[in-house]
């Protein structure tokens, strides 16, 4: 019996090749999209699975409240380490302090490279199960040992042995390569960890040594591994008040500590006002839903084409029933056919996925590999086939098997209005989803455009930054400024303690006239040199930038407009801020200028209140260079490098373009938009494939009618309209459904961004016109073909 089913299914597929091709290809496309999204979702959900201890690893986070606004982050003070080691020994198996990821200059003989990595305590390597290829896992116990990743070692030493070699770091420290570890693969945190240095060495820096009892200095990270048998919630609850109870000065900010588990780092990292509010998990849901919808579209194609063809199969159903087939047997037969089609589509989908996995990875910034050897994957594929076949095959099977044999065999069977209604509903569903995707994508794109076009407040073009990675740069700023300017490649140069596109430090503790009682300010804090305003071409709202002509500028400050509003200052230029207390020595800081707001952090959020102080202590982290626009970029860079190398022959010449750094702020949204564009395009293609197939069946069904109308004098245009109208009406209804739904969803989405676009009516008009245009185009081919056909021939076919 089964063989019989398979036989007839195959012969049916071969007999109607065009139909089969549309059906299998459409389904394969939908399945491929779902498969790729599935792989992407799996990759996201399995993030950090390289770390065997993942369920027991966590990072210490803290929430602090400033003026009723709670901020949550991983930065913690140094004394916390000692408090946890001393009082909570039983809760943790391991603890490790860590620096932030830092780029450092490495020199070995002639080779100079820049690598990213961390300074950590020796336990760290055990916590993350670092796979040691050579050397000692506990190497970081020695304060002059360095561990390198396999790739970093290869880059520095080529094929030669790296172990035991002495390398110079930032021109200061001489470190012995004591271990080589396997690179941490993509899809994991710490994947860019190219080196590990001992915390003990890092902690010898003056500012870190002095931070040993500073509970208010949140400049470090702390990772923990839970002790066996200790659950995360109880350990987290136990440490909540440690900081608050340890230091009266920080207590007013109500610091709440908690353990943020590794399993949530990647997808649930957003906190709003102290409450965890999701994160990338939203994208996972978004694409998961898109994947499900695209699959649904493909399934609808299958259902529509199968039921549209029903008139061709009614005879078969009638005969089978007459001969003795039960309804169940027929359902089984039609489901077998669905399975066959879905299996073929799935094979094609796997092939499509294989071919397009690489471009997809590029688009999604992933390194997903095809999981050939993963048994779970193949089980999921089987379930996927079964699910798709059941979803797409059930309705046609029930529909076809319910035909009454006598009507069929006597030729009185007619597909009535009721029979086409579900098909119409399916087409409307399909186009509602497609139109909603079009509208959603257009809104995402317009939001990104809107933010990209936001005035930055300074000029990003022709601006580069050179990171100050080595101590040998310190104090050379003025000299290098003169040299660079003399070369003609650079118009101006200034230093800053944070990069132009980030804020690395925040401060409080200022006083000013009219400051409300108990106001806990929180200001973005950057130290800058003379000519910073000129170099970045920042517009001033009032006053001026730091100037060499005013020696008192070393105790002056500049605010941005947001800070003036935040602090409630009137005509601030010339007025004073205070810092410190009467007992500890009060510093008076004159406000010499107010900058117009410049976008430094998120381009989607309001500019944060910021204070700029003169850098009198060589705290520069970056040299900012305004290049001469009269020369080509290549000439400028070559000149700058030449001048740089003349003075620092051993140092690595590394620079970033500020406009590119700024553009990175849109990377995540750009990626979502690109993926959404591709998926929307595919959804449209799939829907159109179905529409094309459906239109051809309708044209075929109405061949006689068209012939008669033509004989009676209908023009090609009349017939074209006649055949297209029905579909246009359906798509129009779909638009009426899609518009309010997508407006509602996208309106909520843009609200996420404080700085957001207004959803324009034109987006809906454009999407509507597009959907109707595509429909007309798809349907017209079949409609015109039927309309142009010779009526004599079409009448004879009946």
């Amino acid at each position: 019996m089964f063989k019989n089913y398979i036989n007839i299914a195959f012969r049916n597929l071969l007999k109607h090749k065009g139909y089969s091709a549309i059906n299998i290809f459409g389904l394969a496309l939908g399945m491929a999209v779902t498969l790729m999204i599935g792989l992407w979702v799996a990759d996201e959900v399995n993030f950090n699975s390289y770390f065997e201890n993942k369920p027991r690893l966590a990072q210490v986070y803290q929430s602090q409240t400033f003026n009723g606004k709670t901020q949550t982050g991983p930065a913690i003070p140094r004394p916390l380490e000692f408090a946890l080691r001393e009082n909570f020994e039983s809760k943790f198996k391991y603890l490790s302090m860590a620096s932030w990821s830092k780029s450092r200059n490495f020199n070995y003989k002639e080779t100079a490279i820049s690598l990213d990595g961390y300074s950590v305590q020796p336990e760290f390597t055990q916590m993350i199960n670092l796979k040691i290829i050579q050397g000692d896992a506990a190497a970081l116990k020695s304060s002059n040992a360095i561990m390198l990743s396999q790739t970093a070692a290869k880059t520095m030493f080529g094929a030669g042995n790296a172990m035991g070699k002495i390398i110079k770091v930032n021109d200061v420290d001489h470190m012995i390569v004591s271990a080589i570890y396997e690179d941490i693969p993509e899809g994991n945190d710490f994947k860019d960890m190219e080196y590990l240095m001992p915390w003990s060495l890092y902690a010898k820096k003056d500012w870190i040594e002095s931070s040993i009892d500073q509970w208010g200095n949140n400049s470090f990270q702390l990772f923990v591994e839970l002790a066996d048998g200790v659950d995360l919630a109880s350990a987290s609850a136990a440490i909540t008040s440690v900081k608050k109870e340890s230091d009266a000065e920080v207590a007013p900010f109500n610091p709440q500590l908690f353990l943020f588990p590794m399993r949530e780092w990647h997808l649930h990292s957003n906190f709003e006002d102290g409450v965890q509010t999701g994160g990338r998990i939203e994208n996972v849901w978004l694409f998961g839903i898109i994947g499900a919808f695209v699959l649904l579209l493909a399934c609808i194609n299958f259902m529509n084409l199968a039921t549209a063809r029903s008139e061709k199969r009614v005879i078969e159903v009638g005969i089978r029933k007459t001969i003795g087939s039960t309804k169940n047997q027929l359902i089984k037969q039609f489901l077998t056919e669905s399975f066959l089609v879905v299996i073929m589509a799935c094979i094609l989908a796997l092939a499509i996925t294989l071919v397009f996995l690489k471009p997809f990875n590029t688009l999604a910034d992933k390194a997903i590999t095809f999981p050939w050897s993963n048994l779970v994957f193949w089980v999921v594929i089987l379930l996927f086939i079964a699910f798709t076949a059941l979803v797409s095959g059930s309705y046609p099977a029930l529909y076809l098997s319910s035909f009454r044999p006598i009507k069929v065999l006597k030729g009185t069977f007619k597909v009535g209005k009721l029979a086409t209604l579900p098909r119409k509903i399916l087409v409307v569903t399909q186009f509602s989803v497609s139109a909603a995707l079009i509208i959603g994508t257009l809104i995402v794109m317009s939001q990104i455009d809107f933010s990209k076009n936001r005035p930055t407040g300074y000029t990003t073009e022709n601006l580069i930054q050179i990171p100050v990675m080595s101590n040998q740069f310190l104090g050379k700023h003025d000299m290098m400024r003169n040299q660079f300017k003399k070369s003609g490649a650079v118009l101006e140069m200034a230093t800053s303690s944070s990069p132009t596109t980030e804020v690395w430090s925040n401060q409080s503790g200022y006083g000013w006239e009219g400051k409300p009682e108990g106001f806990q300010e929180d200001l973005a804090y950057t130290q800058i040199s003379y000519e910073y305003v000129e170099t970045l071409k920042i517009k001033m709202a009032a006053g001026r930038g730091f100037s060499r002509e005013f020696p008192t500028d070393s105790t002056a400050v500049i605010l941005n407009e947001s800070a003036v509003a935040y602090m409630g200052l009137q005509d601030p230029v010339g007025k004073y801020l205070t810092q410190g207390s009467n007992e500890g020595g009060m510093r008076k800081l004159q406000i010499i200028g107010v900058m117009k707001d410049m976008v430094v952090q998120s381009p989607y959020e309001p500019v944060k209140q910021a204070i700029y102080m003169f850098d009198g202590f060589n705290n520069a982290s970056y040299w900012n260079l305004r290049l001469n626009p009269e020369n080509s970029m290549r000439e400028n860079l070559a000149t700058v490098e030449k001048v740089f190398k003349e003075h620092f022959p051993n140092a690595l010449f590394h620079y970033d373009f500020i406009d590119q750094e700024y553009a990175k702020k849109f990377a995540e949204e750009d990626r979502i938009a690109s993926l959404a564009k591709v998926f929307t395009a595919l959804a449209i293609v799939i829907s159109c494939l179905g529409l094309f197939g459906l239109a051809s069946f309708v044209a075929e069904q109405r061949t006689k009618e068209i012939g008669v109308r033509k004989v009676l004098g209908a023009s090609v245009a009349n017939l074209w309209m006649l055949l297209s109208k029905d579909f246009l009406v359906l798509v129009f209804i779909a638009l009426l459904i899609a518009a309010p739904v997508s407006y509602y969803l996208m309106h909520n989405w843009v609200q996420k961004f404080t700085y957001h676009t207004e959803i324009s009516i034109w987006i809906f008009i454009a999407a509507g016109a597009g959907a109707l245009g595509i429909t007309l185009f798809t349907v017209s081919f079949q409609a015109l073909k039927a309309a142009f056909a010779n009526p004599v021939k079409s009448l004879r076919t009946q």
Binding site: M1, N4, N7, I8, R11, N12, K15, I315, E316, G318, I319, R320, K321, T322, I323, G324, S325, T326, K327, Q329, P405, I406, L409, K410
Partner: protein, 234 residues
Amino acid sequence: MIKITDLEKYYATEEVRTIALNKLSFQVQEGEFVAVMGPSGCGKSTLLNILGLLDDPDGGSFIFNGIEVAGFNERKRADLRKHNIGFVFQSFNLIDELTVFENVELPLIYTGVKPAERKKRVDEVLEKMQIMHRRKHFPQQLSGGQQQRVAVARAVVNNPKLILADEPTGNLDSSNGNEVMDLLTELNEAGTTIIMVTHSEHDAKYSHRIIRMLDGQKVTENILSEYKSKTLEV
């Protein structure tokens, strides 16, 4: 074998109710060959559908092999049908996607016959119908007469007690038509009961008894001499 009493069937649209069978009663004995004749719309086909358990009467009684089957649900009807009744249609109604062999094999599949037994029985019946050489062909590759022979083969492969034929020669020329009628006669002589709806007086003469219908009722019944003599012999 068949006893129908006061059988009724209506077809209703929104405005009109058409009576297709109006208190029709008759009996058919096992081994009989009955022809049902009448003008178009007189209810012949409705009768055949009810007799074939493809349709349900709206009133009256239908006893098949001593069992009241009026009111059976579709599943029970399908079960009774596949074991007892074979159909021959005017338009052959072969499945285009199946070969001759597979078309004939189908009823055996639905009654759960094992593959080896199926092959044996299909081969036997194809041999008997003289279309063995065409067993691997598809229906559209055969002539009308050959297609109807396949349809007859399919109708008898399960050894049904009853064959219902709906204008079996309607789409055939006279020589092919005669061949099919000879085939049916042979089957009848071998013991199968046959009820045939036809417009053709020529074909009707192959039967033992002709029931003539008009407006859903039986008007006359002619018992042909051959059958009378045959029953007398018995």
